[in-house]
């Protein structure tokens, strides 16, 4: 693996540098491109909310059928970046995107690309579980139905609920309202809902932050299981979770102007045990963030 830029090893131990100095260092971080096939290729992604720039120059390759985590302090742009991957930011008025986001080689922001086609293939699970106020069955079936699925709906719903490790807990009454489930169950219902469309990528935006520790562990196990057949990209503010769950980790940081940049990216084990950038080390050791 070839780092794009190296930082002198001798200088990588922290001295009395204050946290703000650390953050404002202009040096480029270490971004290691995985040598596996990738599903997403970002090149020079810039993003603005109106006149306020939120992301600058994000470039990375996200590998297929692996779990990639995005970590960083609050406000660094991780959720913004995640939402760029399935064009959910289109829904916000006044946003501007430049640069390139390629999904299996296809540019998803090209003029003639339909966002509905994009979102069909790239699912999303949100921070606060948001099942529809309908039955469990209807929740899972909705995605398949609106995308024109004409086959056996019962089977599709059961498969999705099994994949989401929820079938055993709800199969006795699929007509129960989705809102009657516990928080962890609701989140797994949302995962089943995303799976019903049979995407090949699922984006997860802090999926466990509203859940208790036991539910969190169940979902982390689920993520590792799903990664056998799917690509998972997870935003998390919990570093330990990123270390437990992911194969690759990307560390982002917002500089003085509040613009998020990609500081370091590489295999999880390496990033956490041997970070190449001082700022990464500062974050994971708790000096800031």
């Amino acid at each position: 693996m070839r780092p794009i830029s190296t930082i002198d090893k001798a200088n990588s131990t922290l001295t009395d540098t204050s946290a703000t100095e650390l953050i404002n260092q202009g040096s480029r971080g270490a971004i290691i491109e995985p040598e596996e096939p990738s599903v997403f290729g970002l090149t020079g992604l810039d993003f603005w909310y109106g006149t306020k720039q939120a992301l600058r120059g994000i470039s990375m390759q996200i590998p297929v059928n692996r779990v990639t985590a995005l970590i960083g302090p609050s406000g660094c742009g991780k959720s913004t970046m995640l939402r760029c991957l399935n064009r959910m930011n289109d829904l916000i008025p006044g946003v501007r995107i430049e640069g390139s986001v390629r999904y299996h080689g296809h540019e998803i922001y090209a003029k003639d690309i339909d966002p509905v086609e994009v979102r069909r293939r790239i699912g999303m699970v949100f921070q606060k579980p948001n099942p529809f106020p309908k039955s469990i069955f209807e929740n899972v079936a909705f995605g398949a139905r609106v995308n024109g699925f004409k086959g056996d709906m019962q089977e599709r719903v059961e498969t999705s609920l099994r994949q989401a490790a929820l079938w055993g807990e709800v199969n006795d009454d699929l007509k129960k309202s989705g809102l009657a489930l516990s928080g962890g169950q609701q989140q797994r219902l949302c995962i089943a809902r995303a799976l019903a469309v049979q995407p090949d990528v699922i984006l997860m935006d802090e999926p466990c932050s509203a859940l208790d520790p036991i539910a969190t562990l169940k979902i982390e196990d689920l993520i590792r299981d799903l990664a056998k057949d799917l690509t998972i990209i997870i935003v998390t503010h919990n570093m330990q979770q990123a270390a437990r769950v992911s194969d690759y980790t990307a560390f982002m940081l917002a500089g003085e102007q509040g613009v998020g940049e990609l500081i370091e990216y590489g295999p999880t084990r390496e990033l956490f045990t041997n970070p190449r950038d001082q700022r990464t080390e500062g974050y994971i050791t708790g000096r800031f963030g």
Binding site: N86, V116, R119, G123, P133, F142, V146, R193, A196, V197
Partner: protein, 301 residues
């Protein structure tokens, strides 16, 4: 604040605190009096009306045509007229109003046209109803040559209730949390599918409440319909065929009430009072239904 030693502390209201508390207590009573004043007025009016009119209410009263003899006059044609006009108004106004609300909240790009439309709707909701009557007279009765017909009346009332219905529907749609929309769009639903399968069903109780309130407003409308010529003597039933009935001249219950109150004979006052009682019962029932729907479908998200 002067330092108090433990012995000199008093927790009873004194000085400035006592003054402030007195004002607060006083304001409570003043506000109570204001509320009771409104309710008291209502009761006084209701009592007078009931005393005058309760004796006149009978099956005959409901099934008789108007007449120059007070004891033979009834609500038959005005009740049917009200039903026809309101029914047609509902059919015309609801799709337009709800559709407009959906467009404003879900589909419209945030540009100058949208601001223009919203501004206009807010203004139109406050326009006095007689203006709508004059508009209806000029456009529907004269220009479109519909005459003083049920259709002209319904079109006039439709214009009148669309602004308030749009605003009420907008509020109901705004109540649906964005997370539901995001969840639907994230599985690859189109905007219309999101609206049809999730936003509308969730907003429906609020929309229905708004519709019912608008309809009860239209039910009591008098000035606008008099302007278009609904002050007519109708002594026949409208046919059940819309093609026929929509062209008929008509009258409505509020107009019939007005008609009776301006007669010199004392006996017509009793008729008017009786009709008022029935109209109030109908409007009250509509509003109660709206309140019940609101309560029954109050969802927690």
């Amino acid at each position: 604040m002067p330092a108090d030693s433990p012995e000199t502390i008093t927790l009873h209201a004194t000085g400035a605190v006592a003054r402030r508390q007195a004002i607060s207590r006083g304001s409570r009573y003043i506000l109570l009096a204001a509320s009771l004043l409104g309710v008291a007025m209502l009761f006084v009016l209701g009592y007078i009306t009931v005393v005058d009119g309760i004796g006149r209410i009978s099956i005959d009263f409901l099934t008789n045509y108007p007449s120059r003899f007070a004891d033979q006059a009834g609500l038959r044609s005005s009740a049917l007229g009200t039903i026809w006009v309101l029914g047609t108004t509902i059919v015309l106004a609801i799709p337009v109003a709800v559709g407009t609300a959906i467009w404003i909240e879900e589909f419209a790009p945030k540009n100058a046209l949208l601001t223009f439309v919203k501004l206009n709707l807010a203004n139109l909701a406050g326009v006095p109803s007689i203006i709508y009557g004059i508009l209806g007279l000029a456009v529907f009765v004269r220009f479109a040559d519909l005459g003083p017909s049920i259709l002209a009346g319904a079109l006039t009332l439709t214009l009148m209730i669309i602004p308030m219905t749009v605003i009420a529907s907008q509020e109901a749609i705004k109540q649906v949390p964005p997370s539901i929309r995001q969840a639907a769009l994230a599985v690859g639903a189109t905007q219309w599918q999101t609206v049809w399968y999730h936003v509308l069903p969730s907003a429906l109780p609020g929309i229905i409440t708004g519709v019912i309130l608008s309809v009860s407003r239209a039910a009591g409308e008098t000035a606008a319909l008099i302007m278009i010529g609904a002050f007519a003597f109708i002594a026949y039933d409208h046919s059940l065929n819309p093609g026929q009935a929509l062209q008929d001249d008509f009258t409505t219950i509020p107009i019939q009430i007005y008609n009776w109150t301006i007669r010199p004979q004392e006996a017509f006052r009793a008729n008017a009072a009786a009709a008022i009682i029935l109209l109030m019962v109908a409007v009250f029932a509509l509003n109660l239904t709206a309140a019940l729907i609101r309560e029954r479908f109050r969802r927690t998200f």
